[in-house]
Symmetry: C2
Subunit: 298 residues, 2 copies
């Protein structure tokens, strides 16, 4: 039996199963304080499964230190979630469960799910973006998970403002309207229109602005990684009409520079929705629990 | 004896040596037509070194197809250098030299040089940018060379215009002033001021604009790869006063989000000049000739 903890900023999803596609039980726990939330996590695994689990895969919200030899490995860095800043979630788990704990970000966990079991099955180079409360991302290039001294933060790349969006101040607590998270996350949509995305008409001009930014971010990631696919998930992407708009803007921005056809690709395959909505993260965590990083990280 | 071909857009540098730090002879050949240039390359190796070389490392200008199983592997894709578009430089070399040919981009070759013998020796995650006729880039993350279906094109990421540069139309033949190459390459500097960078005073406001763009690109790459170092080389970076300006702008853009201190880094180490100016490319090619990709690419 293996354990999964998808530790998101608003909820934790815990699960146990024999493999990523054989989940036996799961539970959702609110993300409150580290003490309270982690006590519930501990209870889920220890009380419901007295038979020890063999390993745990953890996909945690960030910023989190993932540098192997750093004394802060597994620690949440300075974060707007103040009570979590400095909390070492890896250390908590290793001191409570005497099994291997494999740690990555929540976004990488979802990427792993889609990579091994979802829309990107069989590919070797894939970028994943989640557009919701924030904009997060991860990448597997040539079957390797990308991680330098830390995990990627694609959403904080700088953006070129849409001509009709110049005056919007943005919502990123660090970068205002300078970064993609500041202008294209769920809270940015709400800040402009005073209502959440799912209440905004498909005809609203706001979606063209949104698609322009997400196309720009996709284009930057294609220019950086040359992936076979850029998967877009998260709450905002439930507006499925966005995909064709993003593809149209991508072509307008690219202007033929990245020669997709030379690699037998087209924009419809490149810009892709998720396949495992809601389950990708837990499946990715269970993959990690069962197989570890293996060939994923050098 | 090993062979190196640093195949740049304006000149080819060919060399032979026992190892990257033991170059015996080299020659510079103008980049004209494929037939003419490659005949001179052939002549350099065959006439001057009748004793067969054991392998050749090639670092070629792009866009070039580097997808292993693609029938166009080693072919220059559609490019402003029309006579080279569709020319397969790898096939030319394999049919003329019966030795292993290891192919990468000219920028990756320079990155390899700096990574193994220069400013990045001993590190595991490094990004390299060359700012000259164009803006090119490469990355080694966790000791792996980054390459999806194709090589990186960092210079074509979209940029946020400097407030004093809004009206500049840019010089990128594909993206005008929308991408970094369009606004911060050598030709962009010349298009604004009607003279090359080395004739422009250090006090000129243009350098602040230039530094803003390069800081933005650096910031995007830090947000993407979380490298230990971003090396900036190429003709424009010979203006060494740019480095401190870029560091200042980097801090202004980052606003403390990427917590360098958590990883024992600081902006002075992060934003770095090259160490092997002029030789990095050939050394990288000789490294490839001697050692192949080894652990560099999966």
């Amino acid at each position: 039996m293996f354990g999964a903890i998808e530790a998101g900023g608003t909820k934790f999803v815990c699960a146990v199963g024999n493999s990523p596609d054989d989940i036996i039980e799961s539970a959702v726990i609110d993300t409150t304080s580290p003490e309270k939330t982690m006590a519930q996590v501990k209870q889920f695994f220890q009380q419901q499964f007295p038979e020890p689990i063999r390993a745990i895969g953890l996909g945690a919200f960030g910023p989190i230190c993932l540098e192997k030899h750093n004394e802060n490995f597994g620690s949440i860095l300075e974060s707007p979630k103040e009570s979590w800043s400095g909390f070492n979630i890896y250390r908590y788990l290793t001191s409570n469960f005497k099994v291997p704990i494999h740690v990555t970000t929540d976004v990488n966990a979802a990427l792993l799910g889609e990579f091994y079991f979802g829309i990107a099955k069989g590919l070797h180079s894939v970028v994943y973006l989640t557009v919701g409360t924030g904009i997060g991302g991860g990448a597997i290039i040539n079957n390797r998970l990308i991680s330098g001294i830390s995990h990627p933060e694609f959403g904080h790349m700088m953006c070129k403002p849409h001509p009709k969006d110049i005056d919007f101040k943005g919502v990123c607590p660090y970068h205002g309207g300078h970064c993609f998270e500041g202008v294209a996350s769920g809270p940015a949509i709400k800040a402009r229109s005073k209502k959440p995305g799912y209440e905004i008409s498909e005809d609203d001009e706001l979606w063209d602005i949104e698609a322009y930014y997400l196309a720009q971010l996709t284009f930057n990631l294609v220019s950086t990684f040359a992936p076979q696919k850029v998967i877009l998930g998260g709450g905002v992407m439930k507006q499925s009409h966005l995909f064709d708009r993003i593809r149209t803007h991508f072509n307008l921005l690219n202007k033929g520079y990245t020669q997709l056809d030379a690699f037998n690709l087209n924009v419809n395959e490149l810009v892709s929705p998720v396949a495992l909505d809601g389950n990708a993260g837990v499946m990715g965590c269970l993959y990690l629990a069962k197989y570890g990083f293996g060939k994923l990280v050098t």
